[in-house]
């Protein structure tokens, strides 16, 4: 059954530059708007609210005014080879497509056992604890996109790398009589929306694509790499303390990307107050 991803033609992935990321949250809104994600009157219960793309705020733990904060935008990692969530699903509702590397989730198949949620260490999967909020006469259902099927209560959902945009791009290409896609024709909603151009998206298997170049940068890293989940979402940061946040390290295990980062990492703040 194991079919190595490298046999697949494409391996879509994402690179997020944390130095550029301003923490504005446009990616989250773009994602929710693009994918008909349910919005409820109270979104402050973060353990139950649904977000395919979620912004984590981190800080270096220092005191005022040396404290420094940064952000981790976290989509689904679309783990390669053997995603922790896929093999556990009893009803075959989630699978990885080795031809695109995208991990799919079929809402009409999902029975809501939430085993996949338990298996995912990134909290990339969220459960529909409620039905979508579309009261009669409010008219909020009018902005729903027909390209993504709205979910019912009691199923699990997660980031799909905007797979429907891949389909959209393909249709466009076919209409123009092309079989192959050019770089940038298929990008996720978050990547397109990011006002600081911090998110790049493309085919990691295609050396020509920006993402495959960036993913090889000395500053590139992934979250919880050691667990062997093999995510297709890479991050860039010149700050050692940020990179260190991405994984668990035994004492002395973390290797700073010294020389290049030494200069850029030094952030000085002047005492005040």
């Amino acid at each position: 059954m194991k079919k190595g991803h490298d046999q697949g033609k494409h391996k879509y992935g994402m690179v997020i530059d944390l130095d550029k990321c301003t923490g504005c949250g446009t990616c989250m809104v773009a994602c929710a708007a693009e994918n008909n994600v349910s919005v409820r009157p109270d979104e402050s219960d973060k353990q139950r609210s649904i977000a395919w793309m979620l912004l984590y705020k981190i800080d270096n733990g220092k005191e005022f005014p040396d404290t420094e904060t940064s952000y981790f935008p976290r989509p689904c990692m679309h783990c390669d080879d053997n995603p922790p969530c896929v093999s556990v699903c009893p009803a075959t509702a989630t699978k990885i497509d080795y031809n695109t590397g995208i991990v799919s989730q079929i809402y009409t198949r999902c029975i809501g056992c939430r085993y996949c949620i338990a298996a995912c260490p990134y909290h990339a999967r969220t459960f529909n604890w409620w039905d979508g909020y579309f009261p009669k006469g409010k008219g909020l259902d009018r902005y729903l996109s027909p390209e993504v099927s709205p979910r019912m209560r009691g199923v699990v959902e997660k980031c799909s790398f905007c797979h429907h945009r891949l389909m959209r791009a393909k249709d466009q290409a076919y209409a123009e009589g092309r079989k192959e896609l050019k770089e940038g024709e298929y990008i996720t909603a978050c990547a397109e929306a990011c006002p600081a151009q911090a998110i790049s998206f493309g085919d990691l298997n295609n050396p020509g694509h920006k993402v495959s170049r960036l993913s090889k940068s000395p500053f590139a890293f992934r979250i919880l790499e050691k667990l062997g989940t093999n995510p297709k979402v890479y991050y860039l940061s010149t700050k050692d303390w940020v990179r260190k946040m991405a994984d668990n390290y035994l004492p002395g295990e973390f290797k700073p990307v010294s020389k290049a980062s030494a200069s850029a990492d030094k952030k000085t703040t002047l005492q005040g107050g």
Partner: protein, 219 residues
């Protein structure tokens, strides 16, 4: 209540009748009655004569060298490659524009001009091949790139003079054509059924297993 000891003898000979009648009754229910109750019948808001429209003798202007291209004349693609499906009235009035003077004698045309063109209403067609919301299907991928003919999935719809009665599955709410007219799900032609397995079967047969990935057909 009979005592097992002596009743066994008496009934054992007639018993086969019961066995058989139960058997036959069940078969009748399963094969005949069940399909009748399962589907509800609805007729289209008005008739449309495909054959007539595609007959160059009678109707001019519907061009296309191949059969598919003729279909695409009305059932067209948008610029972005998405499929228009059943044409809107806007498309029809490219020819049938004037409620005052129809192009033919058919009563349906008059009905169309008066009820819809004049009123500027869309025709509430019942779609035979309507799939659930969770299903994604790209016509251009199949028709243009896959070089499939329309009837591979839709059959000889273009040869019909009358629109068939629309039958809706009371349980699922989808057209009978999705499962196919044959209650046993047995199919002779590729267009007899439109279920997931049929898509997968064709993909596999054509050597496109990669297109059996969930997200290719689900959204």
């Amino acid at each position: 209540m009979t005592h097992p000891a002596n009743s066994s003898k008496k009934t054992s000979k007639g018993g086969w009748i019961f066995l058989l009648s139960g058997f036959v009754l069940a078969l009748i229910v399963g094969w005949v009655i069940f399909p009748m109750v399962l589907y509800s019948k609805q007729s289209q808001p008005m008739n449309f004569n495909h054959l007539l429209h595609l007959d160059p003798e009678k109707v001019y202007g519907i061009e296309g060298d191949t059969r598919a291209e003729q279909c695409l004349y009305c059932h067209a693609f948008y610029e972005d490659g998405t499929f228009a499906g059943i044409p809107k009235v806007e498309k029809c009035i490219e020819c049938h524009d004037d409620p005052e003077n129809p192009l033919g004698e058919l009563p349906e045309e008059m009905e169309f001009l008066v009820k819809y063109v004049a009123e500027e209403k869309e025709i509430p067609w019942l779609v035979y091949s309507e799939q659930p919301d969770c299903v994604y299907f790209s016509h251009i991928a199949h028709v243009k790139m896959g070089k499939l003919d329309c009837q591979t999935c839709h059959g000889d719809h273009d040869k019909t003079e009358k629109l068939p009665v629309y039958q809706e599955n009371r349980l699922t709410g989808y057209s009978i054509l999705i499962w196919g007219k044959n209650i046993a799900g047995y199919k002779k032609n590729t267009w007899d059924r439109m279920k997931m397995d049929d898509c997968a079967e064709c993909h596999t047969k054509k050597g496109h297993e990669e297109n059996n990935a969930c997200f290719v057909c689900h959204k």
